[in-house]
Symmetry: C2
Subunit: 344 residues, 2 copies
DNA sequence: CCCGGTCGTCGAAGCGCTTCGACGACCGCT
DNA sequence: AGCGGTCGTCGAAGCGCTTCGACGACCGGG
C-alpha cells in the first residue's frame, strides 16, 4: 500500500476533494485519474485499483461544472412535463419517474422543465449547455415546441407523435394497434356487435392524435373482422344517457371498448343500473386502471417502458450520429375479469 | 451605435457565443460583461445598455458549467419527490410544479431526484456541486434522509416535519390548526355533536405525523368548544359499515370531518343510502377535492404556496447564514355547499 | 490647486476537469 | 541486436466564466 501524501494535505481547506488530491494520494497524475474514471485510455489494472481505492478513501466526486466545461457534456437530461389538466397525472408521474430512473442508469441526472416555460425553457437549457438532451412528454399533433427543437440542434426525443416527424425521434404506444387489439380480443371471444366509447367529441381531430389513431385502429379491425361496430364520443356527464341509449337501441350489443378514463366509472354504473354488469357485457378499457373499478380487461399504457425507451434513444442520439425515426410500442392486453364470450 | 468587430468573428465556429464575443461586440472587456450580468459592481448606464444590446444581438447564454465552476454556484436546486403509493399523486405534482416555477423566479433550475436513490442521491448531487440546495418533499417523522442532510452541509428545506427539527428548515401546513379550524367551523354553525373520520388505523402513530397532528387539533378544539366529538379511523372498505354504525348509534350527530381522501366518496354514498346527504348532515373534508364529489366545504392543502415558500426559504439559506426553523402555514377553510347549521 | 475618495473599467489569475501530444518501457519480430 | 509498435502514463493547454486587485478619471472639500 503506497500512501505518499500525508492526510493533512488530502482534504482541501473547504472539505471538497479535487482530482489532484486523488492523484497525489494514489501517486499518479491527475490525467491518469481522469482516464480511470472515463475509461477513455487503457490503464493498468494495478494503477486502476490504486486510483479507485484512493477515490473512495477520500470520497472524491468530480465537480459537475468543471467536468461539463472541459468535456462539453453536462450529463444532465431535461424532461418537459405537461401541465395541462387533461393529462392523467399519475400516468405522467410514472413517466417522469421512469425517465429519471433510466437516466440514472446512463449516468445522467434529470432537469425538470414545465410546459409553462415553453420554447423559452428549451432555448435556455440548450444555450447554456445545461443539458445534453431533452425528453418532451405529451407532444401534440401541432406542437409549438417541435419547430424549436428542430432549430435548436439539441438532441431530443418526443413521447407522442406530431404531425410532421421529419428529423425527429419519437416514441409512443402504437394506439392504432391498441384499438385493433381490443377489437380482436372481443372478436376472438365471439362477439359480433360492439361499441367504442371514446373521448369527448371535442378531442377528435383536435390535438393529441392518439385518440384518432386509436379510433382508426378500432374501425379498421372491426371492418376486417366483419363486426357490427359503432363509435360514440362521451364525457362523464353524458355517460348515463349513452348507456341508456345503447341498451335501448342495441339489444344485440355484447362488447364495449372504452377509451375514456373519466367516463368509465359512471358508464359502468349506468350499465349496471340496466342490469348489465361485466362480464355479462364484455368491457375492455384503454388506459390506466381507474381507482375503485376492479380488474377490468384492458390495454395498459406502458409508461415505464416508454420512459426507458425514450432515454435510451436519447442517449444514442447524444453519443452517435442522429438517426431519427418513430418507435411505436406494441400494446399488450391485460386480462381482467371483464371480458368473456357473449351469452347465448 | 458602435459595432467594432465584424460579424464574421462574432459567431464562434460551433455556433455558441462566448462572453468574449459579447465583450468584443460591445467594445468592453469580458469582466465588464460579467459585471453587467451579475450586478456585482456598478456599471455606467451607457455601458450596461450597450452590453445588454450585444447580448441579445448575439443571443448569448452563459455556459452553465463554466459559470458554476467559477462562481461555485450552479443555480440549480434539487427536488426530491416521493414515490410511495400512499401520497396523493396530483398533489405531489402540484408541489413539484410550484417548486419549479418558484425556482425559475429565483433564476434557478430544478433537478429531479426520486426517493429511489435515497441518501445516495443527495450525497451525489451535493458532492459534485450539481446543486446549490435541495427541497425534500414528504418528510416522515423518522426520515432516513434527515441525518444525511444534516451531515451534508447542503442547504435544504423540508416539506413536512420530522421528529427532530434541530438545525433544519421545514415548511408544512399547520395540520393541528386545520383540525381545529374544521371543529370551529362546525361549532360556529351551531353543531354540538360531531365525528372525525380519519385515516386507516395503521397510519396513526406510524410515520407522517400530519395525521396525528390533525387529530390532536380536532380533539383540543372539540374540548375547548365543549362538543360531543368522537374519532373513527377508517379505510375505504370499512366506510359503509362506519356510516351505518354512526347513523344507528349517534342520532344526534350533525357534523362530519373527514380526513381521508380515499374513503370520502364511499362514506358519502353510504350516508346518502341512509337518507342523509349534505348539507342536511354537514361534512368538512380535509384534503384535495376528490374527483366526482362536488363542492365540499374543505380545508385545502396549499401546495402552490408551500412550494413557493420552500423555495424562498431555501434561497435565503443559500445566500445568507443558516437560520433554521419550522414554518407552519395557516389553513384556510374553503366554503362549499356541504355545511350548514344543524336542522332543528 | 491639490488630495483623498468613489466610480467604472480592465487584465489576469484561477475554478477543477478533460484531452491531446509526447514519451519511456516493454513486447515480439526479423 | 535492432527496430517498429503497443501500452501506460504524464504534462500542459485549455474549456468559459467570475472575481480580485489595480488603475485612470472624475468629483468635491479644504
Amino acid at each position: 500500500m503506497r500512501n505518499i501524501s500525508s492526510n493533512r494535505f488530502d482534504d482541501g481547506r473547504d472539505g471538497t476533494v479535487r482530482i489532484s488530491d486523488v492523484a497525489r494520494h494514489a501517486g499518479v497524475s491527475p490525467s491518469t485519474v481522469s482516464y480511470v474514471l472515463s475509461g477513455k485510455r487503457s490503464i493498468s489494472e494495478t494503477t486502476r485499483r490504486r486510483v479507485l481505492d484512493s477515490i473512495d478513501a477520500l470520497g472524491y466526486r468530480p465537480h459537475a461544472g468543471a467536468r461539463s466545461l472541459a468535456s462539453r457534456r453536462s450529463n444532465v437530461l431535461a424532461l418537459v412535463v405537461p401541465l395541462r389538466e387533461d393529462v392523467h397525472v399519475p400516468v405522467a408521474m410514472r413517466f417522469a419517474v421512469s425517465v429519471v430512473t433510466a437516466a440514472r442508469d446512463h449516468d445522467h441526472d434529470v432537469l425538470l422543465l414545465t410546459q409553462g416555460e415553453g420554447p423559452a425553457g428549451l432555448r435556455r437549457v440548450a444555450g447554456s449547455a445545461l443539458v445534453d438532451g431533452v425528453v418532451v412528454m405529451d407532444v401534440e399533433t401541432d406542437d409549438a415546441r417541435v419547430p424549436v427543437l428542430r432549430s435548436l440542434g439539441l438532441p431530443s426525443v418526443l413521447i407522442g407523435v406530431p404531425a410532421d416527424t421529419g428529423g425527429l425521434t419519437c416514441v409512443d404506444l402504437d394506439f392504432a394497434a391498441a384499438g385493433s387489439a381490443c377489437v380482436d380480443h372481443l372478436a376472438d371471444l365471439g362477439h359480433r356487435d360492439i361499441a367504442f366509447v371514446g373521448q369527448p367529441a371535442s378531442v377528435y381531430g383536435r390535438r393529441t392524435g392518439f385518440a384518432e389513431r386509436t379510433l382508426a385502429g378500432f374501425e379498421s379491425a372491426a371492418r376486417r373482422r366483419g363486426l357490427r361496430a359503432t363509435f360514440h364520443p362521451c364525457d362523464p356527464a353524458g355517460a348515463g344517457g349513452l348507456a341508456s341509449a345503447l341498451v335501448r337501441d342495441r339489444p344485440g350489443l355484447t362488447g364495449l371498448i372504452v377509451h375514456n378514463e373519466a367516463s368509465l366509472a359512471p358508464l359502468l354504473d349506468a350499465f349496471a343500473g340496466h342490469g348489465r354488469v361485466p362480464p355479462e357485457i364484455s368491457v375492455v378499457a384503454l388506459g390506466p386502471p381507474p381507482p375503485g373499478v376492479p380488474e377490468l380487461t384492458r390495454v395498459e399504457l406502458p409508461a415505464e417502458e416508454l420512459g426507458a425507451r425514450a432515454v435510451s434513444l436519447l442517449m444514442d442520439r447524444i453519443e452517435g450520429p442522429e438517426r431519427p425515426g418513430v418507435t411505436l410500442l406494441e400494446p399488450r392486453i391485460v386480462p381482467g375479469g371483464s371480458t368473456a364470450p357473449p351469452a347465448g
